[in-house]
Symmetry: C2
């Protein structure tokens, strides 16, 4: 059963979880892209109700999210955690509101499309009220894999991530800053947002451990990629690592294709793909780096080279702003794709 409600040209949009790191970025993204909302409703927990947030030339007053918050709302961008999404999505749908959910609540639900517009916008056709936004580390990877998979089928991907603290929310970003300052000043450290010290450290664990020794973040990169790309046959090995970086995730990819792909062919495919910028000039020491790319929208690719350790191998390095393409921007792009043509 797919969704039959008609989307108006100027819908009412709610942002649920509007005071979080992603929620704030969702508001900013709606404004910057001139999303044609007739009205924006700012929703959060009762703790934040009454808070004022700047938006466009005015401000929004945060309302407490309840089951009746979605009357008259056409699109709700959810980023308040999986439990809230599960609790509130039915009420939103019952009110005729499409949910674009940034949590993991519905991503692997067979009845819910998991969408990165550059890759599988066509899956929006069969949604029935809920559309899932993929995990941040998955989004930036599939944006890059998809145009390459079109020139030659991908057999296997080995990915190692260098993930920013923003993926764990505003408190985690603050912890990196505050803890780094404490460390430099010789004060005692008390990790809270992370299990271990993050200042000047790498933590090879993101999300909880699963029984097979992998983490849930690593599992997400595997199963979400297959679903988004409609490619269950692509093999993926992921290791996810938190690094002391603020808000851009980096990923090192070793890709094995079924047939030969030259570096020139790969570069041409990436350069002509939507949502990708290639920064790759060894002579000027140019390659994507988190410090360069905060607040940017594209997925940036560099260090393109043959991987001679395997037949048909290619290696590359990608960076994207976790809060933008990895979360808020992808959700807003999905909302844009729902607008009438």
């Amino acid at each position: 059963m797919s969704w039959s409600r008609v989307m108006p040209a100027r819908p009412v949009v709610a942002v649920a979880g509007v005071t979080g790191a992603v929620g704030i970025e969702m508001l900013k993204t709606l404004e910057q892209r001139g999303f044609p909302a007739s009205r924006v409703v700012a929703l959060a927990s009762s703790r934040s109700a009454g808070k004022r947030l700047p938006f466009a030339n005015g401000e929004l007053i945060v309302e407490e999210m309840t089951e009746s918050s979605f009357e008259g709302v056409h699109i709700a961008l959810f980023s308040a955690g999986a439990a809230v999404s599960k609790a509130m999505a039915p009420a939103a749908n019952a009110a005729g509101c499409v949910v674009i959910d940034n949590s993991s609540a519905f991503r692997m639900d067979d009845t819910v499309p998991l969408v990165v517009p550059e890759v599988n916008a066509s899956d929006l056709a069969w949604h029935s009220g809920v559309i899932a936004n993929p995990n941040c580390s998955t989004i930036q990877m599939v944006v890059v894999l998809s145009p390459l998979h079109e020139i030659a089928p991908i057999r296997r991907v080995v990915v190692s991530t260098y993930q920013a603290t923003s993926g764990a929310g505003q408190a985690a970003m603050d912890e990196l800053y505050d803890q780094t300052r404490d460390f430099l000043e010789g004060r005692e450290l008390a990790p809270a947002a992370f299990a271990h010290r993050i200042a000047f450290n790498c933590i090879p664990q993101i999300d909880v451990f699963l029984n097979d020794g992998s983490t849930k973040e690593e599992w997400k990169m595997v199963v979400e990629t297959k679903k988004i790309m409609h490619a269950p046959q692509v093999e993926i090995a992921a290791t996810c690592v938190r690094v002391p970086v603020l808000r851009c995730h980096s990923e090192c990819l070793n890709i094995e294709f079924e047939a030969d792909v030259t570096v020139a062919e790969a570069r041409a495919a990436l350069e002509s793909a939507s949502g990708i910028t290639v920064i790759d000039d060894p002579v000027s020491l140019s390659y994507p780096m988190p410090a360069l790319l905060e607040g940017s929208d594209d997925v940036y690719v560099g260090r393109l080279r043959a991987d001679e350790s395997v037949s048909h191998g290619l290696a590359l390095w990608i960076v994207a702003d976790q809060l933008r393409k990895g979360a808020a921007l992808n959700a807003v792009q999905i909302a844009e794709a729902l607008l009438p043509r």
Copy 2:
């Protein structure tokens, strides 16, 4: 032609480049391990001559290194850059002094053994006056690959590194600290030791670029590993990345074997190998991390799990102190292996 001089039980040892980050660590390592030196000679450039360095219960006065510095010296640990090694090694050898060289000057010279004592101590038998200490990122990897290669031949390794600033010397370590403080205080940043900002950033380039789009650091990990392990057939794909960490390198390894290796077999082989400590307990969120392991001697292994994306695959995460096992300790271990039994 191999070396025929007899090594005394209490040799005179010189440390050449004694004021650098590795040189200081070499002195510390000689002292901590109770190396039976009858005398330690501290050598550096004229700039540092006369400087006093604490050693054992006394101090050493730094002497300017010249071609005549090696008279009466039996073992010289060099860490003053490739140009100095090339210029001074012949004079040292002529004086009867064995050179253990931490630079890249001789590593790929077919007449020079490249040695990690846990892996190929037997190659010391054919040295002719110069023994090369491998690159730091290579050392910690081969310590781990070697015992695994013994239980099943390794076909291919994909490695992504998370390398500390210590690998670029004391000035680079200082730059990470100072630049991080400047960044937190909103001051302007002026990268010097690195091509780009390192504070809260990842730089996907270590050493210079080669024509094939790889870097020299990546090339070193490939060719040095094959030489040390006597395994030209092992395929290696490396991506080397600098992260804002002080002095421990981390590496993510995806290993493909010729035959099946269970996680339990791999763990047992690693636990019984010399120079390795396994820290791997998901329940207590225990795994190796740079912040835990500064100043430690072993190579630490964790996140051991099957890599189901390929036949006979294994994934793991390793951390070692770049200045210890990655440089000074390995050199001192080589010196120890040269002592008469």
